[in-house]
């Protein structure tokens, strides 16, 4: 069930377009915000709000990498795997993360703290290799720098970064 506040926010988004369907990606993000991820029920609820089918909403939800159709950890690490980051040895950053967290891409740590996912491109080529954690961008990464960032994040609540 979507909360009244969520429904109102979706309704406000829908009002901005000639076709209600156009507000779908916003609706999905609104439904995901409080839950951290978008389950089948939340997806169907968001679709129903806009009068479209679950299949249609699923189509959009599975297209965008920022919509999580499986539960994610407290903090989501998006590691850029675009060509610029690759040239700047982004793979070693990724390998370090895999090792440190003990998860593969798409995995969540056993303590439920971190989820590691790839990002197509973060638009941070000038600061490659780059990552985004809880919506905050980090560039010029080295394994040491990354360790410091993760140590700092440990214990922080989800959404703290976004609110700052």
């Amino acid at each position: 069930m979507l909360s009244r506040d969520e429904k109102e926010r979706i309704e406000a988004e829908a009002g901005r377009y000639p076709s209600r369907r156009a507000a779908l990606s916003e609706a999905l993000m609104i439904a995901q915000e409080a839950r951290g991820w978008l389950g089948d029920e939340a997806l169907a609820d968001a679709a129903r709000e806009l009068g479209i089918s679950s299949a249609s909403a699923e189509s959009v939800a599975t297209f965008y990498e920022l919509v999580y159709r499986l539960p994610v950890g407290e903090h989501v690490i998006q590691i850029c795997d675009s060509v610029s980051c690759w040239i700047r040895d982004g793979e070693s950053i990724l390998d370090h993360l895999r090792e440190r967290l003990g998860v593969e891409l798409g995995g969540t740590t056993a303590d439920g703290l971190f989820t590691l996912v790839p990002a197509g491109c973060l638009g941070l080529c000038e600061a490659a290799p780059a990552a985004m954690i809880d919506g905050e961008a980090y560039g010029g990464l080295t394994t040491e720098k990354l360790d410091a960032i993760l140590d700092g994040i440990r214990g922080r609540k989800r959404g703290d970064a976004a609110q700052r």
């Binding site: 089948d40 089918s53 299949a55 699923e58 189509s59 599975t62 297209f63």
Partner: protein, 923 residues
Amino acid sequence: MSVANIIVDGKPYSIEGAESKNLLEACLSLGLDLPYFCWHPAMHSVGACRQCGVKLYKDEADARGRIAMACMTPVVNGLRASIEDPEARAFRAGIIEWLMVNHPHDCPICDEGGECHLQDMTVMTGHVRRRYRFEKRTHRSQDLGPFVAHEMNRCIQCYRCVRFYRDYAGGKDLDVQGWHDSVFFGRTEDGALESQFSGNLCEVCPTGVFTDKVQASRPTRKWDLRTSPSVCPHCAVGCSTLPGERYGELRRVRPRYNADVNGCFLCDRGRFGQAFADSGDRLRHCLVKEAGGQVPAPREAAIAAARAALSKPGAIGIGSPRASLETNFALRSLVGADRFFVAISDGELALHRLMRDVLRAAGRRVASPREAELSDAVLVLGEDVWNGAPILALRLRQASRNAPNETAMREKRIPAWDDAALREAVQDRPGPFFVASPGPGPLDECAEASYRAAPDDIARLGYAVAAFIDPTCPAPEGMGEEREALARRIASALMRAKRPLVVSGSGLASAALVGAAAAVLSALVAAGQDARICLVFPEANSLGAAMLAAGGLESAARLLAGAPEPAALVVAEADLSRAAVRGDGPSLMALAVATIVLDHSPSATSREADLVLPAATLLEGSGTFLSFEGRAQRFIALRPCEFPVQDGWRTLDELAAPGREPRSLDGILAAIASELPELAAIVDAAPPSTFRMLGKKIPRGARRESGRTSMHANLDPRDPDPRLDPDSGLAYSMEGAIAAPPSLLSRYWAPGWNSDQSLHKFQSEVGGALRPSAAGEGAEIGARIFGGETGRAALRELAFGGAGAGAPGIPAAFARRGDALLVLPRRFAFGSEELSAKSPALATRIPEPRLFICPPDAARLGLTEGASAEIRFEGADSVPQVLRVAISDLPEGVAELPWGLPALPGAPLASWAAVRPSKEAAR
């Protein structure tokens, strides 16, 4: 129509109608082989797969050229292109190599194998060696229900499935998921595909992602199927079908291309409904009733018994809207025209005759399904086309886009074939499409406005529309401001249109609705509009039966009851218990001294009969149906009859003239034409049995059919004699002519084109009619009996009730009758039609019978969703029915009851009933 002179690979060609064609269509129409995937003749271009890349050159001096997609290239004068250019060839080879990267190469176990567009295109492109040596992406496929099997790993991401299912047919539960190299086409979870057009995915998919699950239970390659041109028996649209058999069993039904009727598609009722013909309980022997019940009897004895029963004067014949014209006519000849009736109520027959009269007066303005699709403004008056005539509904869905598409084409200069651009430009904006019906339906989403009302109020809306268009028409009184505004809006939309269409039918058993449709047509004609009409009949040959019968079942009972001495009753291919006549079915049989039933499938009627003679289904017999537009179409036997089963008409003819050889199909057709001149065109529905192509018959089998001589080796090791077909120009053989006229075409195949996509090799031009044969037969399939000038005065008289004939005229506004509800028949795509309901795959999709009522009525009557309700029809002394309630969006005072479901046969059409809560559990 503009003509463009183009050059392809150095050769000049002249392309007619160039403005509506792209280069791919032009090349295919010219007979040039150019591989493609995402383009489809009915769904046009999106330019997604990149497989049809060709070289385009600026001018004569341009030697380099550039690669462009043929399907996205308009055909303009002076266009220079090359298919054979080495760079273009290399480009296409690269594309298919990429598309094939994840393909599992499981052709030997794939049901698409041997008729796979992907196989054909791979061979055509010359991709013979796989260089990719890494892991393939794999998907978990889904269970999509009883009709369609799913194997996602074969997918090449052409998107045709969602473009058909979602965009073209309006399905909501199949879509594309994911991105990049992990794209998935399916449902959000396992479950039966909801759309009644789902079976078309089998042909729309260029490979084996979506295949026919029913066929998969007994896999058969295309080349091992014997096929014959047939007509769907499951509704009045008369779609052309191509059933296929092996070892005498029906293996599948596919759409047969018919430009005027069903185009490339078929609904799931038509595709999966014909399994009734292979049902284990088929009537395959003569049965004679004895003290202990019916027992098998030798055919000679049964025929002798029938002759004895018919030797007394006054026998009565009951024909059927699901039997061929030939069977109905042979029965009529046997008993006499004035003693031949049809197995529907007098009321239904009167309505069907009114519809016949309107169509007759409308003449050339009777719309074929293709013409319906070309309409740019549509008014649907009451008829549930979606469930009653699915392919017409699919065509109307496309029609709803015509006006907005034309605007986008004009304003944004988008070509007609650029499907993605047109859909982007139009979005969900509906065209001038209006649906008036008691309850909601899937066509509502195509409509600019929907109107929910009782049949009489819908008819009044129609009459009001007519009066706005032609002020000399009487207008209904007291419409109220809102409804009047809607009527004015519809009228002006129909007047602005170039090709307006009005649709109604017998679905709600309302003569007023048919009258209103006639009124709208006559008004539009009077105003000089190029208008059309569609009137939907309930069954495959309802119109044909209505043209032959002297009356319905009540009239038959009256005649039988008043006869000086008891007479026999002959029932041909009908179950009297299904007719909307309360109690009269059994009483009719009780009145007869003996009842003889000819049928292929057992029914309540055949089980009570004194004598049962087994009849052929349309898979073993040949004959003609008259579709809702008056198109006579021939179905030709797929397999021979096994003794003592025989065409109904042949047995009846045998009974009519002892001692004489029964007539052939040609003989019966000639007799129909001479006795009923209006039906004379049925002779031309297909070539006669003497038809030959260069002296040869047309084979039902493919030239590489396997096992032909050993198929019956378990019975007799000798090579069997070929079975003869006395009724058509087709042979039970793999040998014979290599070409056929459109109405006898028994398969689509061309060298290099093994799939249904070979269709374009049989068309004059892509998307158009089939190419007429060298034998001089026409391009059209079937022959239309209506087509004269429109009788405006006659139409008007029928609409407003002239000299005792025609519709009752403008009805009074619907008024509730105390606590009673007007119970209307509601048809379901699956279950409401008698024969298809016997198909095992389809039976799983038949809904549970419910009584549909609106929330205010439910509250008033103390009923809630799922509660048991007792329904007692007015004037009926039979046991009240108890059904569960479903709350539905209906007008107050109106309820709906499923019509014709196997669990609920013989419900009256549009009757008042008292409804109250019941303590009894619902059925």
